[in-house]
Amino acid sequence: MANVADAAGEPIPTSSVLMAAAKHIEINCMPENVEFLKCKKKDPNPEKCLDKGRQATRCALGLLKDLYQRCKEPMEGYVGCMYYHTNEFDLCRKQQQAFEKACPLE
């Protein structure tokens, strides 16, 4: 389960993929995430926040696909390392540096 994408080239949002891309998601999808969290705080009913949730998911999955297309090799290395070490950031510093050099956090 350590590969990033399935047969069609879409990244699978497993925990290691999401944690590897977490810093990018935090920066690029911040508005959608904040909107979703505000909606949830106002009313925890899942039926009321479905559309905002769909926006957040769309943003995150689109970002994953974009990252995968832009820097496939470093991302696969980083995700593989995260999978091996169960999402421990401190044990994957080398791959993290390579990934952030190839796809910078802007």
């Binding site: 935090e26 959608e32 979703f36 899942p46 949730g53 769909r54 957040a56 998911t57």
Partner: protein
């Protein structure tokens, strides 16, 4: 008999006149032996020892603080990553829950369709807030 042969003095009348053969000190006596204590009083003073211990302790505690700062930064990194992906996961769970909830509402409507006065559909608490279902029956394949 052999003592008399060893310690013979010429002209000896009886054994009682043999010269003495004793283990004694050498002529002039032995050299003097020092038996007095001589513990030197040099080395660090009490204040120096206390300051040294206090200095080592404070250096150690400073290193503990630095280590805690580093560990806190690592934990913050992990928590920030979890916060970033929380909306994605919650949105997925919401979709799944809404699908199951609709199916459950249909089942409830079918079961209670002959009961008069049963407001089919939602029948939760009176406070107006949404509470998660407490029955525990919505995901029998998990529990």
């Amino acid at each position: 008999m052999t003592e008399a042969v060893i310690r013979k003095k010429p002209g000896m009348a009886s054994v009682k006149d043999m010269p003495l053969l004793q283990d004694g000190p050498p002529p002039g006596g032995f050299a003097p032996v020092r038996y007095a204590r001589r513990i030197p009083n040099k080395g660090p003073s009490a204040i120096a020892i206390f300051l040294g211990a206090f200095g080592a302790f404070s250096y150690g505690m400073y290193q503990v603080g630095q280590g805690n700062k580093i560990r806190r930064a690592l934990k913050e990194e992990k928590y920030a990553a979890r916060r970033a992906i929380l909306p994605v996961l919650q949105a997925e769970e919401d979709e799944r829950f809404v699908k199951d909830w609709k199916k459950y509402l249909e089942y409830e409507a079918e079961v209670m369709k002959d009961v008069p006065g049963w407001k089919v559909g939602e029948n939760v608490y009176n406070s107006g807030r949404w509470m998660p279902p407490a029955t525990g029956e919505l995901r029998p394949e998990v529990w």
